[in-house]
């Protein structure tokens, strides 16, 4: 894999040599993230979000393991255990706020990372596997975040769990038995809380495993770049270390500044006040909403208001919501344009822009009450969403006229052709 001009790892110490013979982890790191990974020289800042997401995952795991030392996953004392962390545990408030806000920043990084992939055609051949693994990571992250939000056992925790597990009831015949199997009961209670805690602890490590495969799959073709043009020679690349470690490093600083500003000064801005009320199965909150990173999907779920023949609206909503994400699995085969990057696909660029606006509108509607005009707006926005991936992109790859591509990365950057660049 990788490129023939990649720098080779040569251990400099005796210990390094010993490790290399017995368990070549340093070599693995060198080749995947170090000086041994030739990376296109022209990556822009949209390429920083992968590593940023990885770092926020580490933040979540570290803060999460610490929280788990003090949290009690029993419906009677869960809420109080979180307050114990906030008030009595040394620096507990900091670790809790870091974990709660870290989830949001993890998703911000993931969405920007996915957006990069969508615009620059990173999902296209030969990188389909990386894309598929990425969608798996996203689904696992959503499951993890959903279960994590249930753990404090506040009003939104409980009612969010009730709504989402209630969706399973919509499946004909087997829906209710499946729901009761998942909950271990008839409504979210101790059984559900305990298993959510167990799985919430487990899944991040599964995510880490899939990320390793994601990066492994990446290293076979190597990284994409803004032009979408393949790497053709050593002039096209720079070693990942120190060039991109330095670039990722300083943007990590910027990200941490935003993260710290949220965490220390606006720690509850992205949350919901109702979750500071202990869960009460007898009292439904005025507006049940999930965390902001679920809002676009929530809007799609609620957009279906009429039954279709024998399919109830609730089931339609559930099918649509899951389809909206599952459609990404098919993207490499829906969009068969031979041109990778959106930079050279003028019509694609326009529709991509509309998609971004559309998803933002869906997000806004998802956080709003399920009333007019939000329902109607959600319906239009959801219609565009499905049309974009399932109708527009497949047709676009047939009908669009792309711009001419540069001959090489080096030429697009330096203006000089690859051969004479030395």
């Amino acid at each position: 894999m990788s490129f023939p001009w990649a720098k080779q790892y040569t251990p400099t110490t005796e210990f390094g040599q010993w490790m290399d013979e017995k368990l070549p982890v340093p070599r693995l790191v060198y080749n995947s993230l170090g000086a041994g990974y030739p990376t296109p020289r022209n990556l822009n800042y949209m390429w920083n979000f992968g590593s940023l997401a990885g770092i926020f995952l580490v933040v979540q795991i570290v803060t999460g393991i610490i929280l788990a030392m003090h949290y009690a996953a029993n419906a009677n004392i869960a809420f109080d255990s979180v307050e114990h962390i906030m008030r009595d545990v040394n620096s507990g408030w900091m670790i809790r706020y870091a974990h709660a806000n870290g989830a949001s920043f993890f998703f911000i990084a993931i969405y920007l990372h996915i957006g990069r992939g969508l615009f620059y055609g990173s999902y296209k051949a030969p990188r389909e596997m990386i894309w598929l693994l990425g969608v798996v990571i996203y689904l696992l992250a959503m499951a993890t975040a959903f279960m994590g939000y249930v753990l404090p056992w506040g009003q939104m925790s409980f009612w969010g769990a009730k709504v989402i597990t209630g969706l399973f009831e919509a499946i004909p015949l087997v829906g209710k038995p499946i729901q009761e199997l998942l909950l271990g009961g008839f409504a979210p209670d101790n059984a559900a809380l305990n298993r959510f805690f167990s799985l919430h602890y487990l899944l991040p490590f599964v995510i880490a495993g899939v990320i390793i495969m994601h990066i492994w799959a990446l290293h076979i073709p190597g990284s994409n770049n803004p032009t979408g043009v393949d790497v053709k020679g050593p002039q096209d690349t720079v070693p990942f270390h120190p060039y991109y470690t330095a670039k990722d490093g300083w943007t990590l600083g910027v990200a941490l500044i935003f993260f710290s500003a949220m965490m220390f000064f606006l720690p509850n801005a992205l949350g919901h006040a109702d979750n500071y009320i202990p869960a009460n199965p007898l009292s439904t909150p005025a507006h049940i909403v999930p965390e902001w990173y679920f809002w676009p999907w929530y809007a799609i779920l609620r957009a279906f208001t009429f039954d279709f023949l024998f399919i109830p609206a609730k089931l339609l909503g559930v099918l649509a919501m899951f389809s909206a994400i599952l459609v990404w699995f098919f993207l490499p085969w829906l969009d068969k344009s031979p041109v990778r990057s959106g930079l050279f696909r003028p019509k694609f660029k326009i529709f991509f822009g509309i998609l971004v606006v559309d998803v933002l509108i869906l997000g806004y509607c998802g956080g709003a009450p399920a009333e007019e005009p939000f329902v109607m707006i959600s319906q239009l926005a959801s219609a565009y969403y499905f049309a974009h991936f399932l109708i527009i992109l497949p047709l676009l790859s047939r009908l669009e006229k792309p711009e001419p591509l540069p001959n090489s990365i080096t030429e697009s950057v330096t203006g000089k052709p690859l051969e004479t660049a030395r």
Binding site: D80, E83, M86, R87, W93, M94, V238, P242, Y243, A246, K247, G249, W250, L252, G253, V254, L256, I257, S260, A261, F264, F265, P267, N268, A273, D274, Y276, I277, A286, A303, F304, T305, F306, F308, L316, A320, V327, F330, W333, L334, K336, E371, E372, V375, M376, Q379, L380, S382, A383, Y384, F386, A387, F389, L390, I391, P394, L395, V413, T414, K416
Partner: protein, 286 residues
């Protein structure tokens, strides 16, 4: 093949959504939804600021002590603050002995088993105890308050949209129902009109009815406004006792990160200098 199936599925979902939109739009046009009455009578929280507001916010411990006194003399009969311990009062300026005295003399005893008989009874509080609840459980609370359960106040300023300004507005917002309030929204028996409350009528009677309900030891005039503000500030503290540490740590971390990021950026520019030098000039600058 994928594309054909995709287009069909897309047509189905988008199509049905557009049909639903159409039907909804017709319904909206012919039968516009009526906004609940609450919307027009409900008021947003008043504009009030607290010393703890903003990134530079700090507590005013004198105010917190006045607020605690207000809580103790007015609210504690019905509302618990079960997440706060007596020992936490040292953070708002009481010393160890004062805290011991407050705990031991608290009107409600701490539930504990009698050391001789094992029967559940109550004992005087210790600093390590949390504030005991005025009612043993929700049923008792409801029975004593016309079926309304006075909520715990420990987290109240974080548990409501509008935070401390909402609490302040609620406490000072009781008024007679306006003349044009529809009959269905008028306060029934046991309810009181308050436009700051989402449902307009709440079961709590105005807790601060007259000036000087609490006699402040520091001489501050105990107007209804003042008492409401002090109690609201106290509740900010009960919800966020670590607010000051959080702000201090925040500034330290941001300062560090600013310097670290600048250094990292300079390092990045040094490393990339030769590669960036090869870039062609943008045509606009040429």
């Amino acid at each position: 093949m994928v594309r054909i199936i995709g287009i069909l599925i897309g047509l189905f979902f988008s199509g049905w959504l557009l049909v639903s939109f159409g039907r909804g739009a017709v319904e909206y046009a012919t039968n516009p939804p009526v906004k609940p009455v609450e919307y027009s009578f409900h008021e947003e929280p008043k504009d009030v600021s607290f010393s703890s507001d903003g990134p530079l916010g700090k507590f005013d411990r004198q105010q917190l002590q006045r607020g605690f006194q207000g809580y103790k003399e007015v609210c504690a009969a019905c509302h618990s603050i079960r997440l706060v311990a007596f020992r936490n009062l040292e953070e708002i300026g009481y010393n160890e002995d004062e805290v011991k005295a407050i705990a031991a003399n608290w009107a409600i005893g701490v539930p504990d088993a009698d050391p001789n008989t094992g029967e559940m009874t109550t004992r005087p509080g210790l600093p390590a105890d949390k504030f005991p609840k005025p009612f043993a459980n929700d049923i008792a609370a409801g029975a004593a308050n016309n079926n309304a359960i006075p909520p715990d106040l420990s987290l109240m300023t974080k548990a409501r949209e509008g935070g401390a300004p909402y609490v302040y507005s609620l406490l000072t917002g009781y008024t007679d129902p306006p003349a044009n309030l529809p009959e269905a929204n008028r306060p029934g028996p046991g309810l009181h009109y308050n436009p700051y409350f989402a449902n307009l009528n709440l079961a709590m009677a105005p807790p601060l009815a007259v000036d000087d309900q609490v006699s402040y030891s520091d001489g501050t005039k105990a107007s209804i406004d003042q008492m409401a503000e002090d109690v609201s500030a106290f509740l900010i503290w009960t919800a966020e006792p670590k607010l000051e540490e959080r702000h201090q740590a925040g500034w330290a971390v941001l300062a560090f990160l600013l310097i670290a990021t600048i250094l990292a950026y300079l390092s990045y520019r040094t490393i990339w200098a030769d590669v960036k030098a090869e870039k062609k000039k943008k045509s606009a600058e040429a």
